[in-house]
Subunit: 374 residues, 2 copies
């Protein structure tokens, strides 16, 4: 009986939440609900100064914290609610964690996102108004398709996400294709949910800043990413979607771990990719990376040295971006660029502020996509 009662109360409360009149999004101090609040939640909130405000009901806990890169101890009130306000945050997506008596979890008030090898919470700080970059706008929208495929490399069913541009469904054309990889601790969802790939591309295409393209987002957590991409993903995509099949209409890019995957795949295979994007990444200068690196870094540099002119002629764009000096990959990338300079490999370098974070990677995609397939 007890179980049925709990279920009934749960059912009633969720129906009541579902049906409740929407609560005003702003309070008297001008703060607004995070757009990732789950239905019925009033926190986290965002103040006009872009501080995040948290309230967690935890009367029995000893210590409740928020980890947003920086840790904040929340303060308990007499009702057993724990409250806190952060420093101002930059625009865009930020991962955060709730820590309850030392246990790091996702905030039950918030949408969850797979990152940092677990389901974390996310908060979205508004961008400047009226700039058609990262926000959903009243323009034609493409779609993102969840597609299952059998990977011979992994000997398992896997999932990819495929962005198709607004014009795809009703045309019979073939489109160029960008393979776009997430970072470590993330998966194929990263570029869709945290990265807003579809929104960014829809916005760029509507403004004719980028040509319509298909974007394929695979799970890079593979024992052999290059084999997975070349032997499984690309043949599957070319069989199942209307994409052009030559190198001049094929691009590869990735962030962080996905940037290393990109380098490790594109450098030995310039015959496959005319465009290469490396976001917040770089071959590791000092530490070896067993598992991630199939060849020693020097082998790649030798390849580049040996066929320098071919590489410079064949890559229509070799684009490297970095989230400023606070990006954890900055030093590796700097050393890699020095080696490229010494060899004479041409590349474009784009630096922005923000560190090793999604706002930087969204901006990287926003800057990189317009350079493709023109």
């Amino acid at each position: 009986m007890e179980k049925r009662f709990i279920l009934l109360v749960t059912f009633l409360s969720v129906v009541m939440i579902a049906m409740a009149q929407p609560v005003s999004d702003s309070d008297t101090s001008g703060s607004v609900r995070s757009e990732y609040c789950v239905r019925g939640a009033q926190y986290p909130r965002i103040t006009p100064e872009h501080r995040a405000q948290f309230k967690v009901v935890a009367p029995e806990a000893k210590l409740v914290q928020i980890d947003l890169g920086k840790k904040y101890d929340l303060v308990r009130n007499e009702k057993g609610e724990w409250l806190g306000t952060t420093e101002p945050l930059g625009p865009g997506f930020h991962y955060y964690f709730l820590i309850v008596d030392g246990v790091r979890v996702a905030d039950p008030s918030s949408e969850s996102f797979y990152g940092c090898s677990m389901h974390t919470s996310g908060i979205e700080i508004p961008y400047a108004k009226d700039v058609l970059q990262y926000e959903l706008a009243d323009i034609p929208h493409g779609e993102v398709r969840m597609k299952r495929y059998f990977s011979k490399t992994a000997n398992a069913w896997r999932r990819m996400f495929v962005y198709t541009p607004p014009c795809y469904e009703k045309s019979e054309k073939e489109y160029p294709v960008l393979y776009l990889q997430h970072g470590g601790g993330e998966d194929e969802r990263g570029w869709v949910l945290q990265g807003r790939t579809d929104i960014i591309l829809d916005n760029l295409i509507a403004q004719q800043k980028a040509v319509p393209m298909v974007i394929v987002m695979c799970d890079g957590n593979s024992q052999d990413f290059t084999a997975e991409l070349l032997n499984d993903c690309i043949p599957f995509v070319e069989e199942n979607y209307r994409v052009k099949k030559d190198r001049s209409h094929r691009a590869l890019a990735g962030l962080s771990m996905g940037g290393i995957h990109t380098l490790n795949t594109a450098i030995p295979h310039p015959e496959l990719f005319a465009y290469v994007g490396v976001f917040s990444s770089g071959w590791w200068a000092k530490a070896p990376m067993p598992g991630l690196m199939k060849m020693d870094t020097e082998t790649y540099y030798s390849l580049l040295q040996e066929k320098k002119d071919e590489y410079n002629a064949s890559f229509k764009e070799f684009w490297i971006s970095m989230g400023g000096k606070e990006d954890i990959a900055y030093e590796n990338c700097r050393i890699m660029r020095e080696r490229f300079d010494k060899i004479g490999i041409k590349y474009t370098y784009y630096e922005t502020n923000g560190g090793h974070t999604w706002p930087v990677w969204r901006e990287s995609l926003y800057q990189f996509a317009p350079l493709l397939f023109k």
Copy 2:
């Protein structure tokens, strides 16, 4: 420096997890990792008797519990790990919560699912082998598309998921369409992630038990679901997908709250739907449902009474399913069926065990879909 160090350690650890050799899925006792474990997690595990085993590292917590409908207190060992094993669980998907010192959260070791008005965890108990129902198989697969649309009813951008069958992409045919609604505390993701709609339909279609169809899964958390469906979703789907546009190729079904939405929409609009499915639901016999009900229940019964013969002639299938007496909607449904019987409204009733849970709703879809569009 501290923040960079934390980020670097996080980055290294996630790369190491991502790159690690896969750990054996089974231990000496024969238990296996839950298929929803995040990468690197070894718990929850499932024993051969289909018990779930949990291990949560929480040295500073006073009380750690698992809530699977029934609450289990985990037991702390000297390392600060909390362990516990549940009773045997039935096959299929079960929501569960981790409770740390009274705070109900999702388990950081597990995939998260939006249900019960928050991100909960899920555990999947294996089905009997070699039965092509709910498990991914080596057959042709359709896809699920995430599509944004502007809802005039909500005056907001919303998202729907659209399942297209395996043959859709390469044909020019128009397909019949089922509009399929989630329950209270869930959203448009429910039927995709918890419900495995694409797997169920791919399996049914491969066995020629169901005809290829498009399935549209909208967010039913709306102030006026009927208006949202009729004025926004259906016109958008008919404009953007190759679907047939007559009532005999249009079905509406939903579970729990979605079943009430289905009744409230299909009964006043038999001219729009030839097939109706009501899973684990029924008009509420006693309590009023402000918000959810636009009309008094008696108004619907009067409609049915008045046009009994028309309803019986026009619904090719009016299908009602129930998760046994332990289903929280059982009594409402029973009373509703009594009213239907008294009026003389024809319907098919299907009862199975399992209560108000996803295994029952998957089975409902598996039983209902083959009846459609034949």
